[in-house]
């Protein structure tokens, strides 16, 4: 079966005739239901418009609730009314056409020139708004009609829907144009002039902008809800339509009884107001129509607009079935391409089995099972859904034949999509294989946290079950986790070891540590290895090599201290990694080797062996690391940041010295001896120099603390190996927190006239302490004033994040919207699909996929050369 496609949608303005033609009922009764609760004929709930009560039948099509899609009705307006949305165009038309003959206020040849220009731009797909503005400017200025010679008066447009004509330019006397007058003028405009105003004569007549008939949407569009009390609560649209009908009827009655002109005009205004707010209740210039409770009504425009409106909320994004959401928690024992699904969830979600002669027995098996995974529904070829319960299992299993669909519960090995919001990039939705597990959370391997940006402090994630074989195939081939190890953003790995994985491997591979056979076996227990050489002792590097595929690579590790001349293999710090033919010969494995975002080893394996091997390596690597760290033990505590007395002494001295230097700077400044830096004022110079001085002091304090903490300190191990934290964090814990800042400056705020941050200082005090320098460490604790400054600096961080997320979110939305229709064609060009514009003749100038690229380059020339010429450096 070839799916039908809608090829195009044309937008036009409804004519009054069209509105009447599509209407099934003329409505004129402001009542909705009679005393028995039955819809009133001619009322807004007329059963000809469709039904929303389960018991009733539609009078037009005979459909019941759920079957009848609903039908339009109409209201014959007693007097014409301006459509708010078109008021601006009406204003253009009125001032641009003759008040007598309705022709455009422009000679024909000139008009044709403009129209040709518009046509040209239209064909190019460019905006012709500027041409329209130019025409408007010219025609508005015309004093006399070039066609009939009639004098023209200035038209004034008062938002939202009023028009006035200035009858006397001297006295500025104005006369109101009623919608009826407006309509009469618009009727006179000939079709040939319309393109000059940007109107398409085939789709629209200007007089249609003034309504004489109002279409009434079917009841299904504005269903009423029945409250618990049994009361009916009508939709906002119905409320508004009731108002319109009521005023419309009142106008008719008053006109028929010959009421005074003034009363009729007031009613006309009121009708205009109701219809205006019916279309858009947020028009500037008039008060929004309100519900009895005072809440503004949600009318037509409000339904479409904005994030939760029809377009963004219901059409571009929809709610779906076959999905689940719960809290996530880590499970290092499952593969990165798996997801642990709670039994309860697995029982609820279903996967269809499309029964064929080949899988008939397979499908039957699920029908006969009484334990999960069992079949929950079957769908017969006639579309009938039957729930499978213990009593009818056998019976259905007997009847089952090709063409039926069996819906079975989720089971191990099913492919599902797993997602965490915000879905900022394509790695936010990946395909995982199901592992049904006990308990109530989704389980994932911690190594896949980076692409999702997930942690386990209460994060929730969503799971979707693809419901067709095509979707399942696509998920497995394109969306599987292992296919996303490399990020298309920079062509490097985004999945890799984190936290304990890195610490574990660091502990294992650093130096020439030896492990007994028993230990080695224990480390490798979780890893799938068929065979390892028998030895009494293994080094950590050997153990790591067992899980390494046959790659050869040399690089500097994260712990590299950046010596001036790299000693490479002879590095005392064991920071130069040499892997040859899958053997780790030298160096320590740390973040640079296997970490997410950096992982050179992972990158290399991915390029050389592909997704499946990489997946296995990451699985093995994480399992090995976890076993190592579990067996060796690794903790940190508050006493890890203990530093000896002499260190404390030194730190104190360094900081005091810096504070003294700051004082000296201030003194120099006060005496006018401070030399300003080029292009800066003296005050700015002072601030910058003090900041520098205090910054240096903290770094020095950190260095001293670092010296005493040593490389065996757990916190230091984590910081240098890149597992977690930084040396700065350690400095702040052990030595000194340092300068607090707001907007990149020292804290200065306080009442302007006090010239001080808090009342604990003298006014105008510019010293380190008075402006937010925190000399304590987190461990020693902060003084109350320091705490206050720290909180001030901390708050900026919080505000910053809050503002940033909204800003970058909007930026991303705009970018997605601007670029979504671009794709690479078979000829290698990049084109915009709607307009066919060629954006690039060759994608990225070289046609290379950034994900497959080698650090931005098209390919790794050096490696190929090396492979062909043999290892020779």
């Amino acid at each position: 079966m070839y799916p039908k496609r809608i090829s195009a949608i044309k937008f036009e303005v409804l004519s009054p005739q069209e509105m009447r033609r599509m209407s099934v009922a003329k409505l004129n009764n402001p009542e909705t239901y009679d005393d028995d609760g039955f819809p009133v004929e001619g009322g807004l709930m007329d059963t000809r418009l469709g039904v929303i009560d389960p018991g009733l039948k539609c009078k037009t099509c005979g459909g019941k609730y759920g079957e009848c899609p609903g039908h339009f009705g109409h209201i014959e307006l007693a007097a014409p009314v301006i459509h708010v949305g078109y008021a601006k165009i009406i204003a253009r038309l009125l001032s641009g056409t003759c008040r007598e003959c309705g022709r455009i206020l422009m000679k024909d040849d000139r008009r044709d020139k403009f129209i040709r220009e518009i046509e040209r731009l239209k064909a190019l797909g460019q905006s012709y708004e500027d041409v329209l503005k130019e025409i408007f400017r010219i025609t508005k200025a015309a004093k006399k009609c070039p066609h009939c010679g009639a004098e023209q008066l200035e038209i004034k447009f008062e938002k939202p829907t009023s028009f006035y004509e200035v009858i006397d330019p001297e006295t500025k006397e104005e006369q109101k144009l009623t919608p009826k007058d407006v309509r009469e003028r618009l009727e006179k405009i000939p079709n040939d002039d319309l393109p000059a105003f940007g109107l398409d004569p085939k789709s629209v007549r200007p007089e249609w902008f003034v309504l004489t008939v109002l279409p009434v949407p079917p009841v299904t569009v504005r269903p009423s809800i029945i409250l618990e009390t049994g009361q009916r609560s009508e939709d906002d649209l119905t409320h508004k339509l009731v108002d319109i009908i009521r005023i419309n009827q009142r106008f008719l009655e008053n006109r028929d009884t010959g009421a005074p002109q003034q009363i009729l005009e007031d009613l006309w205004e009121l009708l205009q107001y109701h219809i205006t707010t019916y279309f858009d209740n947020e028009v500037s210039g008039i008060p929004p129509a309100r519900h009895r409770s005072g809440r503004p009504l949600k009318t037509l425009a409000q339904r479409l607009k904005g994030k939760d409106g029809r377009f963004r909320g219901s059409l571009s994004g929809k709610r779906v079935n076959f999905s689940a959401r719960t809290v996530i928690s880590p499970d290092p024992c499952i593969s990165i391409c798996e997801v642990g699904v709670p039994e309860e969830v697995a029982k609820e979600l279903s996967v269809p089995i499309f029964v064929t002669p080949n899988n008939l027995d397979f499908a039957r098996e699920f029908l006969r099972r009484r334990e999960s995974p069992k079949a929950s529904y079957v769908i017969r070829p006639d579309g009938k859904r039957i729930r499978v319960i213990d009593s009818n299992r056998e019976e259905i299993a007997e009847k089952l034949e090709p063409g039926w669909v069996v819906e079975r519960e989720l089971m191990d090995g099913d492919v599902v999509l797993f997602n965490r919001q915000p879905s900022l990039h394509r790695m936010s939705i990946m395909a995982h294989y199901v592992r049904v597990l006990p308990y109530k959370t989704f389980r994932l391997n911690p190594a896949v946290c980076p692409p999702y940006n997930a942690d386990f402090d209460g994060d929730e994630m969503n799971l979707h079950v693809p419901q067709s074989l095509e979707a399942q195939a696509e998920a497995k081939i394109l969306m599987a986790v292992q296919e996303h190890v490399l990020s298309p953003r920079f062509g490097g790995p985004i999945i890799g070891g984190i936290h304990d994985h890195i610490t574990g491997l660091y502990l294992l591979t650093r130096g020439e540590k030896k492990f007994s056979k028993e230990e080695a076996m224990d480390f490798l227990r979780a890893v799938d290895l068929s065979e390892i050489p028998a030895k009494e002792e293994y080094t950590g590097k050997e153990i790591f090599s067992f899980i390494l595929p046959k790659i050869s690579i040399r690089f500097k590790a994260e712990i590299c201290q950046g010596c001036a001349v790299c000693k490479e293999e002879k590095c005392e710090n064991d920071a130069f990694v040499v892997i040859e033919d899958g053997k780790l010969l030298k160096g320590t494995i740390d973040e640079k080797a296997v970490g997410a975002f950096k992982g050179i080893v992972i990158d290399e394996i991915m390029r050389k062996f592909g997704a499946a091997v990489t997946r296995k390596f990451i699985d093995d690597m994480t399992k090995l690391a976890i076993r190592v760290i579990t067996r060796l033990g690794f903790t940190i505590g508050i006493d890890d940041e203990d530093i000896p007395k002499e260190a404390v002494q030194q730190i104190e001295e360094t900081i005091s010295e810096a504070e003294k230097r700051a004082e000296e700077l201030i003194k120099a400044y006060r005496e006018g001896n401070l030399e300003p830096m080029p292009g800066r004022s003296v005050e700015e110079t002072l601030e910058m120099r003090i900041m520098q001085e205090l910054g240096k002091a903290r770094d020095r304090a950190g260095k001293i603390a670092g010296r005493y903490l040593g490389m065996d300190n757990s916190a230091v191990i984590m910081a240098v190996s890149g597992a977690r934290g930084s040396m700065l964090n350690l400095t702040q814990m052990a030595a000194c927190i340092g300068q607090q800042s707001v907007r990149g400056e020292r804290l200065t705020r306080g009442y302007a006239y006090t010239h001080r941050t808090t009342s604990h200082f003298k006014p105008m005090d510019l010293g380190a302490k008075a402006k937010g320098f925190v000399r304590s460490s987190y461990k020693s604790g902060l003084s109350p004033i320091e705490f206050f400054f720290h909180a001030a600096g901390g708050r900026e961080g919080l505000v910053d994040t809050a503002v940033r997320t909204s800003q970058s979110g909007y930026l991303q939305r705009r970018m997605i919207n601007a670029l979504q229709d671009l794709k690479v064609e078979y000829d290698g060009t990049v084109r915009e699909q709607t307009s066919g514009v060629i954006v690039q003749f060759k994608y990225g100038e070289d046609g290379v996929d950034p994900m497959k690229s080698f650090r931005g380059k098209a390919l790794d020339v050096k490696r190929i050369v090396k492979e062909v010429m043999g290892v020779k450096e």
Binding site: I9, F11, G125, G198, L199, S203, D280, R489, L811, V830
Partner: protein
């Protein structure tokens, strides 16, 4: 070299060819070995090509947007030059993609012609010609209410520093006051007399004179001279490409501004594209974020594809979409629909959003492939 002949046979991108050539010339392999290397390189290149149907736009948008969350909001920071404040981080990225006509911190990097670049004094000379010098910087200005006049006492020292002569100063003042007042010169002191006996006119003239640019370019508030390697480079606060290009001593082929719109106006669309790419890359790099150039290039190309600079957003690329439904789903829903109806526009449903809205498969990636299998027919 003979390697050129081998490379010529393969349609590799120039940058790759260059790299292979360098590598070959370094190691000097035999011809057949070289051939093998180039051949393997070509194979690798082919396997690294992007696949047809790939949604490169979306990937580019995500690759630039995703790190946005990690960027700082801190507007001011110094980039290389400690004396200058430059907008960085997310606000700067937004500015670039918005094509703001007045960036918050316009800045120019001016390189000088060889004869000026080596010598600090010569560079200073050019800097003086560029930096806006206001009258108040080189003279004392006072209002004499009794005489209804303004006295201007030129500061010789300051003028010498700026290389400004009295005659030049007089000319500038004369030009500024025009008809409204007259200029009298006494003993090197200028007196401006207002013709109209009005306090307001006097004060206005005074204010005007204070801010009068007697030398340099109005837009350029500050110039900083820095030595970079062998040559002196000028960094400016404020930007005016057109005017700076005309200044003697400026090597305008190596002079740039960070105001993209100005580059577009002065140098054209291709230069603007390059500027977008460079500015975006440096903004991202400064934040330590790695983003492939190809993504940024694509964004820059979309912004410049039709010969005009279009912003990413409502008034640019997204707002000029052909599809009504896509525009309505982005922003200004109601207006877009009403306008479309009046114009009798047709949505041909070729894009992504449109097809999602009406529930059809999208023409991208796997949705773009059309294969029909005839059931029951075997090959």
């Amino acid at each position: 070299m003979s390697y050129d002949a081998i490379l010529k046979e393969y349609p590799l991108p120039p940058s790759v060819k260059q790299e292979i050539k360098e590598e070959l010339e370094r190691l000097k392999p035999k011809k057949n070995v070289a051939k093998k290397i180039v051949d393997l390189c070509y194979q690798a290149y082919l396997s690294n090509l992007i696949e047809p149907g790939e949604a490169v736009g979306i990937v580019a948008a995500q690759s630039i947007g995703e790190p946005g969350t990690q960027m700082t909001m801190r507007t001011f920071h110094y980039a290389g030059v400690a004396e200058l404040n430059v907008t960085l981080g997310l606000p700067r990225l937004i500015e670039i993609l918005d094509v703001r006509k007045n960036p918050s911190t316009p800045m120019m990097t001016i390189r000088l012609l060889p004869e000026y670049a080596k010598d600090r004094d010569k560079a200073r000379e050019v800097a003086n010609r560029i930096e806006a010098t206001h009258l108040k910087d080189v003279a004392e200005i006072e209002v004499d209410l009794r005489e209804m006049s303004i006295t201007i006492k030129p500061d010789r020292e300051a003028m010498n520093k700026k290389d400004l002569t009295i005659d030049e100063l007089r000319e500038k003042i004369e030009k500024s006051i025009k008809k409204g007042a007259e200029l009298i010169e006494e003993k090197g002191i200028f007196v401006v007399k207002v013709k109209k006996d009005s306090y307001k006119v006097l004060m206005d003239t005074f204010e005007e004179l204070k801010e009068l640019v007697v030398m340099g370019i109005k837009e350029i508030k500050r110039v900083i001279i820095r030595k970079e390697g062998e040559e002196y480079v000028l960094y400016t606060e404020g930007s005016s490409m057109k005017k700076v290009m005309k200044v003697k001593g400026v090597d305008f082929t190596r002079t740039i501004t960070n105001d993209i719109y100005e580059i577009y106006e002065v140098l054209g669309i291709e230069a603007a594209r390059t500027a977008i790419i460079n500015e975006a890359i440096s903004t991202l790099e400064e934040q330590g974020l790695e983003v492939d150039v190809r993504h940024i290039m694509l964004v820059a190309d979309v912004m410049t594809a039709d010969g005009e600079l279009r912003q990413i957003g409502r008034h640019g690329v997204a707002g000029e979409k052909q599809s009504i439904l896509a525009r309505a789903a982005f922003e200004m829903t109601v207006n877009n629909l009403l306008d479309a109806a009046v114009r009798g526009e047709v949505d041909y449903l070729k894009g992504i959003t449109e097809n999602i809205i009406i529930g059809q498969p999208i023409k991208l990636g796997t949705g773009d492939v059309e294969l029909i299998a005839r059931l029951g027919v075997r090959r």
